[in-house]
């Protein structure tokens, strides 16, 4: 049975690995093959549109996190600081700038092509704008801004959708047509959107599996792998659909067998604590960080970070019916584009829906978009749910801000707090 489990687990992983390797290989050969390259951000990305123009997307945040997982980010961040960047600012940006200054060698060791277009989807974070302004200085290629208004009142208004759609029609699409030398074929776009929709259904089923006890997945540490294809270059493609179908089948099987999630070492976690996590993970010590949770039997049953590229679990699906409106609503709906009260509501809902024992906020030094206001969110959620909140601090890709001992200590006391609450309740 152990062997069986490993084999089942591997299918989706192999698919993902192959997709990524292929993509980076295609990128390395893009110029030779006459392919145009678009740099763009994960939240609010227009992947279906990019593919409809037969262009290849590059996501700088993903390069940054991959560099961190490969222990290369420290040098990149320092490189950027040497060139005049402040130690105070978002380290994703500095990691990317540093990588570029050192030859732009991507995570697979192949050189990344220069962009033909910087597609600045301004969803949920101001720093994105500064980031591409910086890249523009280096690459001197066109930049197209897609300003996505913030859901300040907790909902999407008609004026917001109109604004985004108009920008798509009059700014984004014309520039992409010019650069690709192609007219947009709406049928092709629609077929990508339909494929996205199907993959999104399967992903939501994976997220919902964590309602089972034990949860068959870790929706944060494992979750970041599950979002890989759909948040990056592949949403809308057939391989992406395959991946999520396969993943869903694997997870369904784990539910049937009442198995918990698997750690990177291949062991099964015996669920003791069910948690919701808010905030991005630390990437420089990702495994060590994860281990601090699974060693204690802590399983993350839902997380907000895995919604930065789309809150599909709350009902949104890409739709071929009204392609531009659908893309606009997608951009408007990403997690960090929601106001703080909505973020609090969502976490409260997760705690209830997934019957979590508590929630942990991993507050990221780099990321004001996530972090500003998290202390207040914690108090509010604690008082509404009566469940324990834990607060830890780290950074995305700058290892100087990952203090293992500190975080471990905090987590240990946090788990004791949950124990005490549980004991008090029973």
């Amino acid at each position: 049975m152990e062997n069986n489990k490993e084999a089942v687990k591997e299918n989706s992983m192999i698919l993902q690995k192959d997709m990524i390797a292929d993509h980076f290989h295609n990128l390395a050969q893009a110029k030779e093959n006459g392919k145009k390259v678009v740099y763009t951000f994960v939240p609010g990305n227009l992947n279906e549109l990019i593919w409809a123009f037969d262009m290849l997307p590059v996501h700088p945040e993903i390069n940054a996190l991959q560099s961190a997982m490969r222990k290369k980010s420290a040098a990149f961040v320092l490189e950027a600081e040497k060139s005049g960047h402040s130690e105070d600012v978002c380290t994703y940006v500095k990691c990317d700038v540093g990588m570029m200054k050192r030859g732009n060698i991507g995570p697979t060791g192949e050189k990344l092509p220069e962009p033909d277009l910087l597609l600045l989807s301004y969803t949920g974070c101001f720093t994105f704008m500064k980031w591409f302004e910086l890249l523009k200085q280096e690459y001197k290629c066109p930049v197209v801004m897609l300003h996505v208004p913030y859901q300040a009142e907790g909902s999407i208004s008609g004026a917001m959708v109109d604004y985004v759609v108009k920008q798509l029609e009059e700014k984004v699409i014309p520039v992409m047509e010019e650069i690709s030398g192609k007219k947009l074929d709406y049928d092709v776009l629609k077929s990508y959107l339909s494929a996205s929709n199907r993959a999104e259904n399967d992903l939501v089923s994976v997220w919902n599996s964590a309602r089972s006890k034990p949860s068959p997945i870790d929706a944060y540490f494992g979750g970041v792998y599950y979002i890989g294809p759909i948040f990056s270059a592949f949403r809308g493609l057939a391989q992406c659909e395959d991946y999520y179908r396969t993943l869903r089948e694997e997870i369904d099987e784990r539910v049937r067998l009442k198995l918990g999630p698997i750690t990177p070492d291949g062991a099964e976690v015996k669920e003791k604590y069910r948690l919701v996590v808010e905030g991005p993970p630390n990437w420089t010590s990702f495994r060590e960080f994860w281990k601090m949770f699974y060693d204690e039997g802590a399983v993350v049953v839902s997380s907000t970070y895995t919604k930065v590229g789309g809150l599909y679990d709350q009902g949104f699906r890409h739709s071929p019916e009204n392609p531009l409106e659908s893309m606009a609503e997608y951009c408007l709906g990403c997690y960090t584009n929601h106001n703080l009260p909505s973020r609090v509501d969502l976490i409260e809902k997760y705690i209830k829906d997934f019957d979590a024992d508590g929630f942990v906020i991993n507050s990221i030094k780099s990321c004001n978009s996530f972090s500003a206001g998290q202390l207040m969110m914690m108090r509010e959620i604690e008082s509404r749910t009566g469940r324990a909140g834990g607060f830890i601090e780290s950074d995305l890709v700058d290892p100087r801000y990952f203090s293992a001992a500190n975080i471990k200590n905090r987590l240990e006391s946090y788990f004791q707090m949950i124990d005490a609450k549980k004991a008090g309740a029973s």
Partner: protein, 386 residues
Amino acid sequence: MGIDEIIKKCEHLYNDLDFGYVKAWKEKTGGKAIGYMPVYIPQEIIHAAGALPVGIMGGGSNLEIIKGDAYFQSYICHIPRSTIEMGISGKLDVMDGMIFPAICDVIRNLSGMWQMLFKNKYVKYLDLPQNFDPEIGGAFYRYEIEDILSHVSQITGKKVSPEDLKHSITLYNENRKAIKSLYDLRAEVPHKIPTSEVYLLLRAGNILEVTEHTALMAQYMTEVKKRDIKPQDNIKVAINGAFCEQPPLGLIKALESSGCYIVEDDWVLGVRYIQEPVATNKDPISGLVDAYLTKSVSTASKYEDKKEKGEYLINSVKETGAEGVIFCMPSFCDPALLERPMLAAALTKAGISYTSFKYAENTGQFRTFKEQTGTFADSIKLWGGV
């Protein structure tokens, strides 16, 4: 009023974190007050609706932070914690609403915190467009303006006619003109017009009713021209990066006493955000929309796809005769600090020297800043900054 009296009045307004003037104004007029955070909102619409727009620029260096630190991690700038401190300690109760303009993720998230903390107050996040096409960003911005107008009208109970709005625009045009004259004069005779005074005058504009502020500026201008002060061997500098969290007044004075005449700056930028008169000859909302789209300054939180980075700064350096730039930016301020390398590169290309440092609004020691800018001034004097 003589200069001393004018500056004393401004200093009182600057230091009064209980907003005594606003309270008195409300009592006298029966009007309402709407606070707003940096950088820019179209104050005209608040004014037209019968409310006093009040610029809130954090708690400065005198406010003791008791609870505010429990709301923000150490790596977030200082202005949101002092603003929260003022909010929860009741100092901002006098505001009938708060507007948080789009500038960065911190101010943006602060708007959500305000919604949770002050459930009965009007809280608006003003999403300034980053698209500058009149049919696209302009249409969206119009929607935002109309939204604010209707909410503030509800609060004040005053229905706003196009004529009311035109009148308010005219008053703010006069105010902008007065501020511009003051800045022009300072660039011309900086030895007569210390920036610490200009700064206080501008800060007074955050609080005072607009006509009162314009009159105060006019008085200051009349008086200051009479001053008989000889220029010193100082260099002229432009300040950049202080558009949101403000440096303490002590820091501004320290810069001035280090051998620098400040001839350009971007603090209290909201009152100088629109650089030309807003049109009153058409539908007044269109005038405001057009002013934002086509007549506003370049600053880090605003996207510009046409101009080259740094062009605006370099032009203002040339126009004011500044010999160098001091990047004076709040710690942990992503927009300012990410802008800096781009501006620095543009300055280098244009052969303009710069130095840079970071501050917090409650920084207490100014010696190192003074030494740094003093050395900068000396190097420019000796070698032209090379």
